[in-house]
């Protein structure tokens, strides 16, 4: 039940008697088919009009909470309702020295036919029949002595809960004493690269041409939204992050569209990036934690528009793992993972990549999850955090610094940071950042008559809540610590824990972990006697 790729699933399923298309996902009319198909998106114009700043959205009517359930609606249309993984393939890592014969035998054992090795992957993807159960196939593979691990291609999604944009202030920074922390370490420097692995970042201008080839329904039995055909979507860099083409952004990579333009069609990644490094002291908008760092935009999950435009990849575990490895190999010092999944089994492929990244000196902050009010299933990607020194699972607190109602609890939670709690404090108790203007982006939330192509060149300030919003506080904090000389990921984690403000039950607990982050105290460190 996650963001998923039903359209792409359907396309892949065409060869199998159109099973995917037998659902409610409907092929467009003949007129659409006459148009030249765009196999993947196309950059049609580098230049674009200046970004539109629509300011603080504090007078908009309330918006329905948007979470992964929205993604599930599209997924349900494809007939994969409820499945936390992608059908048709599994992830497998063979042990070093596994022979070609053994690999072939393993492939045959699960009725597979090809073994694919992607870039930034130390694992393989085995194609299996769509009708096969990937979890069962992975279990069969795990029994083999030549297999290190095998798992389904579980889907990951954003860990945020956007809500009504009513402005009050950025209570989250004073809550963790950031003003005094910035006195000590003013926003780090460009020497520190923070990779934001998310839905993309509004980091560049240009116009991309997409092909909306299929109609869909947002809810079962709801109105059918038509295929839009070929559409040009304008993008711009978020004014509060940096200018398009500037050195603020480094080594961008899109694993959803398999190119180097990880633009944001969702708003989540841009909002998260703002909390990490929104430009600060520039007389505009709001602030960010580590406002001088360079940002590495890495797109590893898709938004609804990416699905509508039939992105070739989705945010499966293998894509997440490749993104982590890419970031580690391209100079990132900190990785922010405000993503994950609560369904399915463990993600050894991601854990392996996390260990690889930490081993290369990269600190990882990962969201604990937003499920406490709905079953409290842990974020599978965050669960290994206690076993990896240099990776921290982050829970969320609200305005009153109590644990947010949604913040998943468990033994894997290690730290807490402001993520907002709008149930307890209203709209302005969320985390405020600039991101894409949702009015012009989410046209699929309008009546069908108003449905049309999105714009990704208009921005506004929104309050979001979620452990997604808490996590970039920790990622930015890590960047500040690294700038201060704490370069080892394990040391960063240890320092954060040592100075965390204990909350809840005395000592470590499952809601706050070791406590609320305390950047000022950590950055200031210790004197001899005090």
């Amino acid at each position: 039940m996650t963001y998923s790729g039903p359209v792409w699933q359907a396309l892949r399923g065409v060869g199998l008697a159109g099973v995917a298309l037998a659902g409610l996902l409907t092929a467009v009319g003949a007129g659409q088919e006459l148009q030249a198909p765009v196999a993947s998106r196309l950059l049609v114009q580098e230049a674009a009009l200046p970004p539109i700043d629509r300011g603080l959205r504090d007078q908009d009517p309330p918006r329905a909470a948007r979470n992964r359930d929205d993604a599930e609606r599209l997924r349900a249309e494809a007939g994969d309702d409820g499945l936390p993984y992608v059908r048709g393939s599994v992830i497998v890592k063979f042990k070093d020295g596994a022979s070609a014969g053994a690999i072939t035998a393993a492939t045959r054992q699960v009725a597979g036919d090809t073994v694919d090795r992607s870039s930034w992957a130390n694992f393989d993807i085995i194609d299996i029949p769509d009708a096969a159960d990937p979890e069962a196939a992975a279990a069969v593979l795990r029994e083999r002595p030549d297999v290190e691990y095998a798992q389904p291609r579980y889907l990951n999604y954003a860990m945020s809960r956007p809500n009504d944009p009513l402005y009050a202030n950025q209570w989250n920074f004073p809550a963790i004493d950031m003003e005094r922390a910035w006195d000590i370490q003013p926003g780090a420097t460009a020497d520190i690269i923070v990779a934001v692995l998310d839905s993309g970042v509004a980091f560049r201008s240009g116009t991309f041409r997409y092909n909306s080839r299929f109609a869909f329904r947002m809810t079962p039995g709801g109105p059918r939204y038509p295929a839009l055909g070929i559409v040009d979507v304008p993008f711009a860099a978020a004014p509060e992050l940096g200018t398009s083409g500037s050195t603020r952004f480094v080594a961008p990579r899109d694993f959803i569209w398999d190119d180097d333009a990880p633009v944001d069609l969702d708003s989540h990644g841009t909002h998260v990036t703002g909390t990490v490094g929104q430009l600060t002291n520039n007389g505009l908008g709001v602030a960010g934690m580590a406002y001088n760092v360079r940002i590495m935009p890495v797109k590893i999950i898709q938004g609804l528009w990416d699905e509508i435009f039939s992105s070739p990849f989705e945010g499966t575990d293998d894509v997440v793992a490749r993104g982590i490895r890419y970031a580690a190999d391209n100079g990132a010092k900190v990785i922010n993972l405000s993503i994950g999944r609560s369904e399915g089994g463990p993600a050894p492929v991601v854990t392996d990549a996390m260990r690889y990244a930490v081993g290369r000196g990269v600190f990882i902050a990962v969201a604990a999850g937003n499920t406490r009010a709905s079953g409290n299933q842990p974020n599978r990607l965050a669960q290994p955090a206690p076993d990896i020194n240099g990776m921290v699972a982050v829970g969320a607190v609200g305005l009153a610094l109590d644990s947010a109602f949604y913040s998943t609890s468990g033994s894997f939670v290690e730290l807490a940071a402001p993520g907002g709690d709008q149930r307890a404090g209203g709209t302005s108790a969320g985390i405020l950042q600039q991101t894409l203007d949702l009015d012009l982006l989410e046209t699929y939330d309008r009546p069908v008559s108003q449905y049309g192509p999105p714009r990704a060149d208009s921005f506004a300030y929104y309050y979001f809540q979620g452990t997604s919003m808490a996590t970039p506080h920790v990622a930015g904090f890590a960047a500040l610590l690294m700038q201060q000389g704490v370069t080892s990921p394990a040391a960063v984690e240890a320092a954060m824990k040592q100075f965390a403000t204990d909350k809840g039950a005395a000592g470590r607990d499952d809601l706050f972990g070791f406590g609320l982050i305390n950047p000022r105290a950590t950055l200031r460190g210790l004197g001899l006697a005090r």
Binding site: V486, A491, A494, L526, G527
Partner: protein, 226 residues
């Protein structure tokens, strides 16, 4: 610097007293040099030395060293009871370092300046031993109370985050003075100071579980007076 001036003034007064009062006494008495004094005698001294802190890991973490130079001085009052004397002295240690993190025993300096200034005042009572065959060599031993002033300041400190306190402790010291002339001598001494529970409740000293501000020191003295 503001704390140095009073100390220097005290030392000047002590030195002046030491060179005038005993000199007057000399003209009135003609006792052998080695004979025990039967009158009150006032002397003074200036000293320099090296103090090695018991909290070695803590000082090393923030200052990069667990020892450092000290300078000071004091006044000695010889009492008319054999070799009995009392001594009031003070010295000063000052060094700059950086605030730090201690993570699993590893120290990471943070580049935030930190200054440590220590000014103990020592009140001692002791005994000077007279050796007839070596009248110019006067061994002595003493012990007493130490009021240990500790000041720690650092950049970005908020209210109440710097330290400026005085702690009580004890010391033992012993050495020998060599009389170059009747009024001028050189002395060397070893001292041991304990100031328990002065540190260890915070900072790196807590991380290293070190709570004693004392230590050992070697001091060289120039003495004036009998």
């Amino acid at each position: 610097m503001t704390r140095r001036l009073p100390l220097i003034a005290v030392l000047a007064v002590i030195a002046a007293a030491a060179t005038t009062v005993p000199a007057a006494a000399q003209t009135r008495t003609r006792r052998p040099a080695a004979a025990p004094s039967r009158s009150v005698q006032i002397g003074g001294y200036a000293m320099a030395g090296q103090f090695t802190f018991a909290a070695a890991e803590s000082f090393d973490a923030v200052l990069g060293t667990s020892s450092g130079p000290i300078v000071g001085g004091g006044a000695t009052l010889g009492l008319p009871f054999g070799g009995l004397f009392v001594d009031v002295g003070a010295w000063r240690f000052a060094q700059s370092g950086e605030r730090a993190l201690v993570l699993d025993g590893q120290v990471i300096s943070l580049g935030i300046p930190l200054d440590v200034t220590i000014v103990p005042i020592e009140i001692s009572a002791g005994w000077k031993f007279r050796i007839r065959r070596l009248p110019k060599l006067i061994p002595y031993a003493a012990g007493g109370y130490t009021s240990f002033g500790y000041r720690e300041t650092s950049t970005f400190a908020g209210a109440g985050e710097d330290v400026d306190e005085r702690f009580g402790g004890y010391h033992l010291r012993g050495g020998a003075e060599f009389k170059i002339t009747r009024w001028l001598g050189l002395a060397g001494e070893l001292a041991w100071t304990t100031v328990p529970d002065a540190i260890g409740s915070g900072g790196v000293s807590k991380a290293f579980n070190e709570n004693n501000l004392g230590g050992t020191s070697f001091r060289a003295r120039i003495t004036v007076g009998r």
